[in-house]
């Protein structure tokens, strides 16, 4: 168990996640207070990655629930294994099974665990859990309300079986891209942390940590280029994920510095909309390159 904010920070960095102190404090408190942690921020700033890295750091199993509109209890919580139930009934009919077993087709044996139940139930396997509820803003209000119930006391009631509650509360990490407002009731039950685009120094550190064999100058150029791009008005601004993709792409293409040709060839790594790429090529490329101070 991590016993201080520093330890969290160091452990995360050991797993190659550059983690600033506010974030580390949030994670540490989430563990200590056993509260869910809500991350908001633009796409690609490393919200989901936090959960993955935390699972590694804590040596816990990661259970991920990807949200989408129409996500319901049968997909998030549990479902009965109908084919198995039918087979059991048929077997009983043909006399190959004792009759009593038909009573038990609504037992745990026939239960298919979905992520939320798995996260609550898995203590029976002596396993601690990191539960990642990804992109909650994609789900609908009904699911949010349902989640509220589950997260408030970490227990689930299945009519046929009874109430199941978690022995050890999992570390719950919820992420949102803010495409929709999350309800206040859910927010107030969580610790909140906003992840912003990284500063130049942080981004440089992330690039050199994740890609250790990158050339120093290239890393420097990539990061300052990205900082300039984020200052411009694009439909989707590139996140840190794009920076890393781009850096890897440039390495694969054996580039050791940025020039106009290299940027134009690989623009698809950082901008993902036709309009953005067009705008970049027509208007912004020069200013972004000149910001590097070394136009090809």
């Amino acid at each position: 168990m991590l016993s201080s904010i520093n330890e969290v920070q160091q452990a995360m960095e050991k797993e190659k996640y550059i983690c600033d102190r506010p974030l580390a404090t949030g994670l540490y408190l989430a563990l200590r207070l056993e509260k869910p942690l809500l991350f908001e921020g633009e796409a690609g700033v490393g919200k989901t990655e936090v959960a993955k890295v935390m699972a590694k750091v804590l040596n816990r199993r990661l259970i991920r629930l990807q949200c989408y509109e129409g996500l319901d209890a049968t997909a998030a919580l549990y479902e009965w294994n109908y084919p198995k139930q039918l087979l059991r009934i048929k077997m009983t009919e043909s006399g190959r099974q004792p009759l009593e077993s038909i009573e038990n087709i609504f037992s745990e044996e026939f239960l298919i665990r979905r992520p939320l139940l798995e996260a609550i139930r898995s203590e029976s396997y002596d396993q601690h859990i990191v539960l990642l509820i990804d992109e909650i803003d994609r789900s609908d209000e009904e699911f949010e309300a349902f989640l509220l119930e589950v997260l408030s006391d970490f227990q689930i009631t299945i009519p046929e079986i009874g109430t199941i509650s978690a022995k050890e509360r999992p570390l719950v990490i919820i992420t949102s891209n803010r495409t929709r407002e999350i309800h206040d009731a859910l927010r107030r039950r969580c610790l909140y942390h906003w992840i912003d685009y990284p500063s130049f120094e942080k981004e440089y550190l992330i690039v050199t940590t994740k890609i250790p064999d990158i050339h120093e100058i290239l890393a420097h150029q990539i990061c300052s280029f990205m900082q300039t791009v984020r200052g411009k008005d694009f439909y989707k601004k590139p996140g840190i994920a794009e920076t890393l993709d781009w850096a890897n792409a440039l390495i694969q293409l054996h580039k050791d510095h940025l020039d106009r040709a290299a940027v134009e060839e690989t623009l698809g790594c950082i901008l993902k909309h036709f309009e953005d790429i067009k705008k970049m090529k027509e208007f912004d490329l020069d200013s972004c390159l000149s910001a590097l101070g070394e136009v090809g």
Binding site: I5, R21, P22, T25, G26, Y28, L29, R32, L33, K35, L37, L38, E40, W80, Y82, Q85, L86, I89, K90, T92, E93, I102, I105, D137, R138, D140, E141, R178, T179, R180, E181, D184, R187, R188, R189, C190, L191, Y192, H193, W194, Y235
Partner: protein
């Protein structure tokens, strides 16, 4: 667990109260969790303490600024609690004053309080604050809107009407969409349950059907200078709708677009107005519809993609922005949305023709182009929406 000493507890409580005054809705559970958290961190580290309180008390990015300001004020080492109480009283004076402006009548009490507490220092601070309103562009007129001229009695009347209309509409919508039946699926769970009493033979089939969802509404209100007289009227409508109809997002714009869903929700209209004029800095500025719609499409694209979204724009169409941009944005919106409704208060005049450049650009893309200058129009609009 180590209990924090009494002083700190009291201070955190006071701090949470001050936050509530700033409309950061801290719950008692948040306070308890923050206090529990105190025993896990080293509170001599101010940054850690700040992060602890922030992660517990802040739940919106928009609250960060107010939180930071208050945190720096409250937990400063110079003067302990004294200035805080002074500040609280000062805030009370402010809110009294605001109420006065909104409601149009005077509080005797606030007057006497103001006499007691408005010393020179406070006055100077206030002047400083006014000067510090951040500027965005020279074209924008940055000023706090005076809502004074809506009288108390009028407000009351308007409020009643709007809330009844929006309630009706919310109901009409949800009823309509719940009734719909689209085939059905076999409900295995219930069917198997049912089959047990027949020894596993599925005799009674149980079906389940998909619930339909109500329309999603996006309300966009023009609050530029030319819309001054009508703006408040539509704001009332937006406020009523936002609080009675859950599937609704609200925005206001003049040169820039601001999302006000969060500001309108769960506040009374009286509370909302001063808050709105404070937050929306380009109130009564110029008009740039194209840029505002562009922002809407970029920043809030998710609800727009759903083809059951209804966009209501309330504006007179006097656009000073780029017509090409406006045309492009309207075309894109038309592609994405179920219905585009434009409410123009000027349409009420018999002599009005949509000749101005903005309006003639917009017109081809609209599903409905409706007048909106009195309550009859509003009621008609509600009927129209509830039939969609």
């Amino acid at each position: 667990m180590i209990y924090p000493d009494f002083n700190l507890l009291k201070n955190v409580l006071l701090f949470s109260q001050a936050l509530r005054k700033r409309r950061i809705g801290v719950t008692i559970n948040n306070v308890l969790d923050a206090l529990r958290g105190v025993s896990f961190i080293d509170i001599s580290q101010k940054d850690d303490f700040y992060n602890l309180l922030k992660s517990n008390f802040v739940s919106h990015r928009e609250e960060t600024e107010a939180f930071d300001e208050l945190f720096n004020y409250f937990w400063s080492y110079e003067k302990k609690t004294e200035p805080f109480f002074k500040k609280m009283v000062e805030e009370n004076v402010d809110s009294f004053k605001k109420n006065e402006e909104v409601l149009g009548f005077k509080y005797e009490k606030s007057q006497s309080l103001m006499k007691d507490w408005t010393d020179e220092e406070l006055e100077n601070n206030r002047l400083k604050e006014q000067k510090n309103v951040p500027g965005y562009s020279p074209e924008e007129i940055l000023r706090h809107k005076d809502f004074g001229h809506l009288q108390m009695a009028e407000l009351e009347k308007v409020r009643e009407l709007v809330s009844s209309i929006s309630q009706k509409m919310a109901k009409a919508l949800s009823r309509r969409w719940k009734r719909g039946k689209r085939g059905g699926q076999l409900d295995f769970r219930k069917t198997i349950r049912q089959s047990i009493k027949y020894g596993g033979e599925m005799i009674e089939l149980r079906m389940k059907e998909q619930k339909l969802k109500p329309l999603r509404l996006i309300l966009v209100c023009d609050v530029s200078g030319s819309m001054d007289i009508y703006g408040q009227f539509f704001l009332l409508f937006m406020h009523g709708l936002q609080n009675h109809y859950p599937h609704c997002e609200t925005f206001v714009f003049s040169t820039r677009l601001s999302q006000v869903t969060f500001l309108l929700k769960s506040r009374t209209f009286d509370e909302t107005l001063p808050f709105l004029s404070e937050k929306v800095l380009d109130w009564s500025g110029g008009t740039n519809i194209g840029a505002a719609l562009h922002q809407l499409r970029r920043r809030h694209s998710e609800p727009l993609h759903a083809n059951r979204t209804l966009l209501l724009i309330f504006s007179d169409g006097w656009d000073r922005g780029d017509a090409v941009l406006l045309d492009r944005e309207m075309r894109n919106l038309k592609k994405q949305l179920k219905r585009l409704i434009w409410l123009n208060p000027l349409l009420g005049s018999r002599y009005y023709q949509p000749l101005c450049k903005g309006m003639s650009t917009i017109l081809p893309y609209l599903d409905y182009f409706l007048p909106c200058h009195n309550f009859l129009n509003l009621r008609n609009l509600c009927n129209l929406i509830s039939k969609m």
